[in-house]
Amino acid sequence: MKLSHLLSQRKLTIFERWLDLIFSSYPPETTRFLKKEKDRFNNPVAYRLSQGARGLVDALVSGATVEEVSRYLDEIIRIKAVQDFSPSQALAFVFLLKKVIREELAPEIRADTGLAAEMLDLESQIDGLALLGFDVYVKRREKLYDIRVNEVKAKVSGLLRKAGINVTHI
């Protein structure tokens, strides 16, 4: 109970610190830009990453359905799934949330040992997020392969149509 109260109080700081860490997974020059430019169209990666991270922090504090959580995860993962990240690197951001919360709430946790049990529960929830993240990541990669196959077909789709073949059936 107490932990959730603390979390909702510090929601904004936790979100900001987490986003900072997510941005820091890019090279320094890029990190600087991601943090600086606020226009959502001039800085689309930062915008989508922050949308996803904000949604996930809210979900953790106030609760959300699996579909909602997957959608927030997807905001981040669909970008990372096509960038230069290995799967583990692409999903590492989820676990960084643990780090942020531990550090942010360190004094309180130290002062009140009663928080430990709640903390463990929260960390399990974050582990759950990571597992959902695997689903999302794999789905995105599969989508990419699908698109590639479809693109190869589409290159001759006019010809196939002429031959009476429906591209979606092959």
Partner: protein
């Protein structure tokens, strides 16, 4: 236990470039999905290009010719003498950084070497080292470096992560044109036999057969005839198409993407219906069967070689002028290079619309008109009977293709057409910093639209897709319109990944839908056989579906 990596260590290891080392020491990693395949020797042999050989990009040894370094440096010297721009762009940059965050590849990849300023530096550092006194003396202290194979690999990697879209040059206070640097850099790569399969295969096919797709004349004719039959099936009107007809007034040339791949094919049907409607005296050539020019993505020389077919054929057929289909880089090539390369076109006349009498003064030199200029003029003079309700199922946003928009200023004509063929309220603009001059590239132009390059293309096209997603979510936009065949080919995969609810269409497909012929059959579907909204019901019932 203690040796296992922690998440933050893993995350930190993502610093896949730069950190404590300077950019010169950080080299690209050729991972599948992030590079274009090497060209097979047969295509090079087909066009007599140097050093054809079997090689592969991930290989350590690219089997460069023994004297590759000499070739590159001599090539650079030659180009410094021939292109004043090159020397100017090398010398003038003050590293102000205005361009750095304007590139769609930087925004999408997060790779600092995709900042245009740094991408240019990849070439500039060699120029400095070998062609400036200070660079020769002080080396890396002044950003100069030795030319070695790793530099060549870096060029290959990053010069194919520039789509020559020129968005960066718009923001550069000196107007440094990254596209020009990329073009010349790719020329240098090609001079030592480093070419890309996707581009080179298109070039070889176009050079020997007539189009990038390598269609034979009869296959080409067969395909267009099929479109005419499809037009008849949907509208009851069978367009009359002639091929290689001498004495026609106009030669019509479209990019090959429009006659082999959906949804470009529907755009082609739109062209045919329009020409039939106005009774245009035109012909299609099976020799100049390609509007696009992938040669331009290898070298000026090859661009010129492929382009010459247009004038040659116009001359042979004795037409008065040339009309070009909806194409992006074709338009840049034809409008800005063709006269210099293969002109003067003194055997052609200044284009005049036979329907409205409008003189296309902007085409005085090159004698070629873009179809959106032509159609917008027809609409302006009230020559087309259009029923926008037939496009009521389409809520459109318009992507300004880089070449027609940023390079040529073709902003209003397509929008003018769109506003006349769509019901009021069905056209929505994307945010101002993503359209017109500031348009974001599709991420697959300049010959990088190969399927093996999909990952990078997804990154490069992300800023554009992000803006499309915005208008989709806010206004319910379900179609992205464009006037470029590469766009029509690459946006469907891009949007399937980022905004799968949005489909892609050419503008003349919409014209074809809206055109009302006197003798047509009752129209219940659009050119793609999709049901029209509010048709097939009693009159006056709009939007009943």
């Amino acid at each position: 236990m203690a040796t296992l990596p922690k998440p933050e260590e893993l995350a930190r290891s993502i610093q896949y470039r730069v950190p404590d080392r300077g950019w010169m020491e950080v080299k690209p990693e050729f991972r599948p999905g992030t590079f274009l395949n090497a060209a097979s020797p047969k295509w090079l042999e087909m066009v007599s290009y140097p050093f054809p050989r079997e090689w592969s990009v991930p290989d350590e040894d690219w089997q460069l010719p023994d004297n590759w370094k000499e070739i590159i440096l001599e090539g650079m010297e030659d180009r410094l003498n021939r292109f004043r721009t090159l020397k100017l762009f090398f010398d003038i940059c003050v590293r102000c950084g205005a361009c750095s965050d304007k590139c769609h590849f930087f925004l999408g990849t997060g790779d600092p070497k995709n900042m245009p300023v740094l991408r240019a530096e990849l070439l500039r550092s060699i120029y400095k080292r070998y062609f400036t006194r200070i660079g020769k003396a002080l080396g890396d202290l002044v950003g100069a470096r030795d030319l070695d194979e790793s530099v060549i690999k870096e060029w290959f990697y990053y010069l194919h992560q520039c789509t020559e879209c020129r968005r960066c040059s718009l923001f550069c206070p000196y107007g440094i044109d990254m596209a020009e640097l990329t073009i010349l850099g790719r020329e240098l790569l090609s001079s030592i036999g480093l070419n890309v399969e996707w581009i080179m295969a298109s070039v070889g096919s176009c050079y020997t057969r007539g189009s990038h797709i390598g269609a034979t004349p009869h296959a080409y004719k067969d395909m267009i005839d099929f479109f005419a039959e499809e037009c008849e099936r949907v509208t009851g009107i069978l367009p009359n198409v002639t091929y290689n007809r001498k004495g026609a007034e106009i030669l019509f040339i479209a990019p090959s993407g429009d006659y082999f791949a959906d949804p470009g094919t529907y755009t082609y049907m739109g062209y045919l219906l329009l020409f039939e409607y106005i009774g245009l005296d035109y012909t299609i050539s099976t020799y100049a069967a390609e509007g696009g020019n992938f040669g331009y993505f290898i070298s000026h020389e090859m661009g010129k070689r492929l382009n010459i077919k247009m004038y040659e054929e116009a001359k042979r057929l004795g037409v008065k002028w040339i009309l070009g289909g909806e194409c992006g880089h074709m338009w840049r090539v034809c409008n800005q290079y063709m006269t210099t390369w293969n002109g003067p076109a003194d055997f052609l006349e200044e284009p005049v619309s036979p329907i409205t009498g409008t003189k296309f003064e902007n085409a005085k030199a090159h004698k070629m008109v873009h179809i959106t200029e032509f159609t917008a003029d027809l609409i302006r003079h009230g020559k087309l009977r259009l029923d926008p309700r037939r496009n009521a199922h389409i809520k459109l946003t318009f992507h300004d293709s880089c070449n027609p928009a940023r390079a040529m200023g073709l902003f209003e004509e397509p929008r003018y057409i769109i506003k006349h063929v769509l019901p009021e309220g069905n056209f929505v603009e994307m945010p101002p910093n993503t359209i017109r001059e500031k348009t974001f590239c599709c991420g697959s132009g300049s010959g990088v639209n190969a399927d093996e390059f999909l990952e990078i293309r997804m990154r490069g096209g992300f800023p554009r897709a992000n803006a499309v997603r915005y208008v989709h979510e806010k206004y319910g936009v379900n179609h992205l319109g464009c006037i470029c065949a590469i766009d029509r080919a690459v946006f469907p995969p891009l949007l399937q990944y980022w905004v799968p609810e949005v489909d892609v269409t050419g503008i003349h497909e919409l014209v074809g839908n809206a055109l009302v012929f006197d003798e047509e059959i009752e129209r219940t579907t659009d050119l793609r056989d999709r049901d029209l909204v509010g048709f097939g019901e009693e009159e006056g019932g709009e939007d009943e579906e």
